[in-house]
Symmetry: none
Subunit: 421 residues, 2 copies
Amino acid sequence: MEEAQKKVRDYIRKNEDRAACYLQRLVQEDSTRGQESSAQAVIIEKCRELGLIMDIWEIGGETLKNHPAFCSDRKVFIGNPNAVGTLKGRGGGRSLILNGHIDVVPVGEVSAWDQDPFSGHIENGRLFGRGSTDMKGGTVSLLLALEAIVNSGITLKGNVIFQSVIEEESGGAGTLAAVLRGYTADGAIIPEPTNMKFFPKQQGSMWFRITVKGKQAHGGTRYEGVSAIEKAELILKGLRELEAKRNSRITDPLFAAIPIPIPINVGKISSGSWPSSVPDSAIIEGRMGVAPDETMENAKEEMAEALREIAASDPWLRNHQPETEWFGASWLPGNLEIDHELVGVLGKAFEKIKGCSPVIEASPWATDGGILNKIGGVPVVVFGPGVTKMAHDANEYINLKDVYEAAEVIALAILEWCGTA
Amino acid sequence: MEEAQKKVRDYIRKNEDRAACYLQRLVQEDSTRGQESSAQAVIIEKCRELGLIMDIWEIGGETLKNHPAFCSDRKVFIGNPNAVGTLKGRGGGRSLILNGHIDVVPVGEVSAWDQDPFSGHIENGRLFGRGSTDMKGGTVSLLLALEAIVNSGITLKGNVIFQSVIEEESGGAGTLAAVLRGYTADGAIIPEPTNMKFFPKQQGSMWFRITVKGKQAHGGTRYEGVSAIEKAELILKGLRELEAKRNSRITDPLFAAIPIPIPINVGKISSGSWPSSVPDSAIIEGRMGVAPDETMENAKEEMAEALREIAASDPWLRNHQPETEWFGASWLPGNLEIDHELVGVLGKAFEKIKGCSPVIEASPWATDGGILNKIGGVPVVVFGPGVTKMAHDANEYINLKDVYEAAEVIALAILEWCGTA
């Protein structure tokens, strides 16, 4: 084992520059939603080089679309496949999924970028570009780790299943399709941008829309109407109380450093169309955080109960119940106890490479880990080299040193988790 | 005088059905802002029938647009004129303006109407349609009163100036143009929908827009941002406190029956564009009521002071002051003491027709009476047959009986005020 570890670490160190060039090439392929294919081709080329058994397919079909966790408004998946490459083990070891998403979020305002958003420009050890941090850098860590193992001539006992999926940024249909295709394992690592932290638990989330009714009237006799804005204020206050109540229950030390572990964020309100009319409708839209150990259904029910209580406290709302829709995106939370062996194996590898203990937290956002965990039943740790705060931002970048170190950590974890022949 | 009174009353009673048909025709001409011409044509036709000296002109020009009370975002007035018809008196009597606006507010959601919004449908003594109550019914009362006087062969001493103006619903530029064209008089009656009440005082109003800043962040870490919606809630609360303070000062018995004499109505709020982002801006729009005895400037200053106090109470707002704009429409309040002779003359006519005293109140909304009164220096009573609560509403209607009775009251008041030869 010591020898295998040395081999892969030496391999990675010798091939850092090649890995940086590969990441640059990957970032230069714009893989915004709906045009993931050219970046996937770069991934698939590398997988073939490594001799992985490839499974490349366009997601879709009734089983996927009818699944309760399916969440996508995308009509066409043709031409932009999922890619899964399996490194078959000799047998007798634990299997491991290495999951990365190839889709990137839109670049936003181009003028906010100092370089072309898909430049892949390298400067002072940073590689810039949309997707560099979220999460092509993490994917390169995975591939570099695998390459090190394969090219060092090491044979694993357990299977390694490398997945490059689409649709993570839009609800996780790519990973859900992989799970439904039968890909599960004894563990999974997702190298999302965690600043090299471990996130064995991830906050889930879903979007809500609450519609509050009022009664129209002329503003000069506003007492003859009922302001939907004033009623919406009761809902806003109630949502803050619900948030406080839900968060007061969370005692998991992983959340200790997080001011609001599972926020209820009101992102949007819209009411009225005329300054001198009493508005008869208000629409509140937001995102409800979901705790790792709760189900989406329980969270929805708790929201419904809170709204019933708010409505019960107000004569108007009692007779004009606010209506709730769950719309748009939803992401399942992920939940792995920190004493799970996967955390231990990954932690040991981390300590070996970094000379210190990993920071273990709960993430304030969900990843495809929720689907792997809650639908696939796979223990998942989210751990990766990206810079959390730069994800989705202009001038997104990644520190290349972290890409290499994450590759070393992941390579060692693979050796330990899957076992060597 | 007794004989003249009898003649006009008889005339009105005999011509009720014709008046109803005329009102129906007037309502059927959609005179929403920007398309007032076809309804004006129906008015002008009637005025010519009565032999009034017509003055028909397209408003506009620098004098109007530069006037401090001018308030309109309308670019084009071409093709939709003001119409003024004068019934010249023999001399030696008091003059009287009879003012009605031809513009109607938009119909709103058509599906909320039981009939076509411009049907003019008559059922059980009610005539339905946008503008029936606000205020084509009142205008028909004016014309019926004038017709009764003219067709009964009565000669008045003072001039009667009938005005059919545009733009009342959007800030009163039509009546302001008439004042600036030189039309003033010893008194004025405006038959807005008052439910046959007298409004010698009218609430003024103006529109405000308050912009509140926040700080953007991801909803999953919302504590890293500052919600503009939460800050807007502080403003909403503060505006209600300001409203309470301003209304507590009003002791005029004319306001005794009005729950909120000068309301501050928030008609619109808009904030955020994405459910899972913390919104960084919120816009509140509303209407501030202005008391008959205060100036617009004083009311604005009181709002500014209240916002400064709200901002001072919150650390974020202290450094990110909300911004206020006064935009769109504004209506001057009207203020006539109830012992003015115009109130007396109209009241005597009312008692004669209705057999009881009029209800005298302050109106909860402004009319063009504010401009006639504050800019033209004309004593104004607002009194008309429309159903106050149906103004601007779906299924707007007017009780035809009130149209006829208002015509009788106004006819008698004209005889008394202007004097008969």
